[in-house]
Structure formats: C-alpha cells, structure tokens
Subunit: 309 residues, 2 copies
C-alpha cells in the first residue's frame, strides 16, 4: 500500500530530505517563509455517498485540504495521508491513489508520509504549505467598508448532491462540482497580496461568511442578486429554494474574501488578466449587523444546517 | 469541541503565529532547523479495546506519534488533531482531551489545529517537530559492526493486553504499559548525537528491527539473553512464550537504534548520567543474514504477526 503510493504519486520535490518509508518525513523550509498546516478528514456518509467512486474520494480529500490552504493564501508543498479501510482492496486503493495523485501532481504537491490502518473507511490528510513571512490571510482582519467577493459559482455542489440523492447519476457540471471540486490554489496565492481576510466555502456561504465576520468582529451586507448562481438551478427550484441552496449548500470549495475598497479597481483588473475563474463582488463588510438584500429590499433567508458537527 | 480543546490544551507556544480557529495554522521555523512530520491514526478494535478509557486513548494517540518523532531524533513542537466520533459526547471528549493534553504539556507540545467530524470512532494526529539541519536519524544508515540497543523493557504492553483480554483489569505495570505508554522523547533527541539509525518499536522488536536492517541493507544478530524482559512474564509463560511475546508483541513504543562500536563507552556513560531509562545492548549489525542466539546457540523464534496491515 505504502509502496503503491510511492510508485503512483509524486513523493519527492524540492526541499524534501526524507519521504515515505521512515518514522517521519523531513523537509527544509526556505528562508523568509512561514509554514502553514491544514488537516481535514472525510468519512463515508458524512462527506461522500456509498456510490462515490474511489477516484472521486481521492480527489476530494486533497481538494478539501488544498482549499483550506488556498484560503490561507499559501502555496501547498507536502502532504501526509492516513488511510483507514476495512480491508486492503487493491483495486479500490489504486483508483483512490489515482484520483489523489492527479490533483496532487497538478499542484506540485508531494505525498511524503502517512500511514494505513485496518478500521472503518476514513481518510485524513494533512497538507503543509509555505507563505512569505506575515503574508498569510486569516479570518480575523476584515474591516468595515471592505468589499466581499466570492470565486466561481455557489450551490452547484449541493445541487449535484441533490441530483445524486434522487438517483440521477448522469454526469453534469453539478455532479462534477460535487465529486471533483477544483480548489482555488492559484487564486489563493494571488489573493495573499490583496485580501484583508479569507475563508473557503465548505459549509455554505452563509455559515462561512458568518464565521469570517464573527472572527473579525464585524457584520456583512450581501446582495442576493449578485450571487453567482448557475441558471439551470432555477429550472429545478423556485427562486427561494435556489437561493437557500446557494447560501447553505456545502462542498463548494470556493473562496470568500474581503478587499479594501481602495484596491477594488486594480485588484479586479489584475484578476481578469490572470484568471478565467469567475469573480463576484457580492457585498460589503458592515460594522456589526449582518443581512441580505434582494433588489434593494431586505431578504430573509432560510438556512438549512449542512455543517458537519 | 474546538473551543474545549482551546480551553483545556496548550494551543500556543514560541513560533506559533496562528493557532486553532482558522483554515490552517501558521508557524515560524527557526533558522538552521529542519521540519520533521509524523502522522498516525488509531481506531477502536485495531489499536485499543472497547473498555479502554478515553483518557488512555487521548494519551495513546499522542504517545504513538511522539514515539515516531523520538525515533527521528527530533524535538516535538506542534500538533494537529482530527477526531471522528459517532456523536459528540461531552464527557468522553473532556476525558480524551485531558489524557492528550497532560502528555502534550509534558513535552511542550502545542495543539494548533485540526478538525472534528461525525463518523466512526477514529483519531488521527499529526505532530511536527524540529531537528538541527541534517541531524535527523533515519532507518537507512546502520552499518556492519554497529551495536544494537533498545530502551526500556520489551513485551510489557503485549502482556498487559493479554491480561486485559483475560478480563484482568487490576492495574499493573503491564496494563499501564499498554494503556499509557511513555514515548522516549528526551532520549530520542539525545540519540540524534550518537545513533547511526533508529526506529521505534510499535510492531514488536523482530518486525521493527527487520524493517530497519532491510532499509539499511544489512542484517542483525541479537542475543535473546540480553533482551530486557520483566521477570514477572516468566511466572505466567514458559520461556519460549515469554520470548515470543517480547520479540513480536506490539505497542512497546521503545526505541531501537544502532551505535557505532567506537562510540560505545562514551555513549553509555553519557546515557547513564542523563537518564534512568534502562538501556540494553542486545546485539550487533551483520553484513546480511539475521538471527538470534540464546546462550551462544542459534535460536529459532516463533513470530506472531501483530502488525496492523
């Protein structure tokens, strides 16, 4: 199993002195850089469905952690994987590592350690990344008047999950968004030069923006009509349902961040030069109270709690 | 839950810029140091018993990882914890964190991140440590003629597990060795100045010394009569059984390492000045073939495979 990972996945890169196969890994940290670490776990039922394929599970555990890294504005470097399975199913493991290593290779991430145990199906991953000294972006620094942005489309993964739960397995961009989310790694690194605060959207925009503003001790005002929602969602749901799914659906792995007002024009111009990823300015940071507007009127939201305890 | 960890466990220490409560943690690495990372997981059934108390589980997941760190010769610094539980049982979690944080505090280890999810009972921990540039000890550098040493007593935890499985819960040093193993952290750091190779004994001396010699492309010759076995084990088992448990029982978390012959006297003297931990010189590294001697004669061992897949 460890040998399979070594054979199939990148296990060395610049700075790695000791990789898979010892009691621990050893890396050198470049001068002037700080170490960022994330750790996230996934399990059947809570984070994916019985029919989710092993390559999707492999992709997803890396995507979830890369998304956390992106939200810190840091460059992912090294990963440690812990895999617990009821039995050692070679074909399952091969597909899992395939899904994981395609995404890892795309982001120059080396898998340099971890363990495999016999137990319930459960995957933990820790990713380490580097960021220039004091350039990491936390949740705590949003200021009144800062503009609130999100990347990509929201609610797509939740809609994909909804389709899968209805037994509709025909691949669509929504099911793709649920099974193979694309973490915004390059965007996160770029944002470390602009954003005053940042979080990734894993539990839905409402929950995650609320966490960010709570940590920053401010509020938000978001315009529903500015939310990036794919039009197809309105073919399946009435507007309130589509909006609810957009605000409260989990698994988006988009970034939500704040930009100081005076940087707006320069920031947007650079973004458009650099990325095809959709960028939406959805609202503003307020002094304390939070709420939503729809066509200028106050809008009361229904939030389902998709958060994983 | 996250708040409970923050309140009960040390979550800041020198070098920590951002701790629990954001998308990731941020630390500064001192100049001239390299980063060592270990990641180990535990689950009910494979790594502990249904009756194992939550404080023992909390202690053990930290001990297992600290033991890996010790085997690298590195100083543990920061931990990221992932806890999966079927339900959020406050009393269970409190006891778990108590057991974990007592051991963490003892070794100046700050818990700076992680996650909690709903799922099967499963704990993953990643510990990061520091070692002076190029001073880490791997498994790959044992040389023919180097002396083989182990710390502490062997087989005690396996004997403790055996007693627990017989329903004998009366606390003894053996049950203590199984439930609350003491990682050899200080010893490991000290050994980074002497050992040519090192591994921690988690799957039994035979399996782990075999891994070390395989990684170093050498063999070993170990004297059974030099093994550190507690006398009580011979009251319960015949000699072959006691020796088998000593060589193949898991969960010892002692260190096995090699010392160049010429350093023997100086090393042993410094050890005895510094530690009360028992030190046993049990054998020698050979060019290729491995085996055991008992009172000068070849000794064939029976090994049960206690390894966790």
């Amino acid at each position: 199993m460890i040998t399979m990972i070594k054979d199939m996945a990148p296990s060395f890169s610049k700075g790695v002195k000791l990789s898979i196969g010892d009691d621990g890994s050893v890396v050198e940290i470049e001068k002037g850089m700080e170490l960022v670490t994330v750790l996230d776990s996934m399990t059947l039922g809570t984070h994916y469905l019985p029919q989710t394929t092993p390559d999707s599970i492999g992709h997803k555990i890396f995507a979830v952690n890369l998304s956390d890294m992106a939200a810190m504005g840091a460059k992912p470097k090294w990963a440690h994987l812990s895999l617990s399975l009821p039995q050692a199913d070679k074909s399952w493991i091969e597909k899992f590592i395939k899904g994981a290593s395609v995404l890892a290779a795309k982001h120059d991430l080396a898998i340099i350690g971890g363990d495999t145990i016999q137990g319930p199906e459960m995957i933990s991953l820790s990713i380490q990344g580097l960021v220039k000294k004091s350039k990491y972006i936390s949740r705590t620094n949003a200021k009144t008047g800062d503009l609130v942005y999100v990347t990509g489309h929201l609610g797509s993964a939740a809609f994909g999950l909804h389709l899968l739960q209805l037994g509709k397995n025909k691949p669509t961009e929504f099911i793709q968004a649920y099974d193979f989310p694309e973490p915004r790694v390059g965007e996160g690194i770029f944002l470390s030069n602009y954003a005053s605060s940042m979080i990734d959207i894993s539990d839905g925009l409402h929950a995650d923006l609320s966490k960010l503003t709570k940590a920053s001790n401010v509020g938000f005002n978001v315009s529903i009509d500015r939310l990036p929602i794919r039009k197809d969602m309105f073919d399946h749901f009435n507007p309130d349902e589509a909006i609810s799914m957009t605000l409260s659906g989990g698994d988006d792995y988009e970034l939500c961040f704040t930009i100081p007002q005076k940087m707006k024009d320069g920031f947007e111009q650079k973004w458009n030069e650099k990325f095809n990823t959709r960028l939406s300015h959805i609202g503003v940071i307020t002094e304390s109270t939070s709420g939503y507007k729809f066509n200028g009127d106050d809008y009361m939201i229904e939030t389902k709690n998709f958060e994983h305890f």
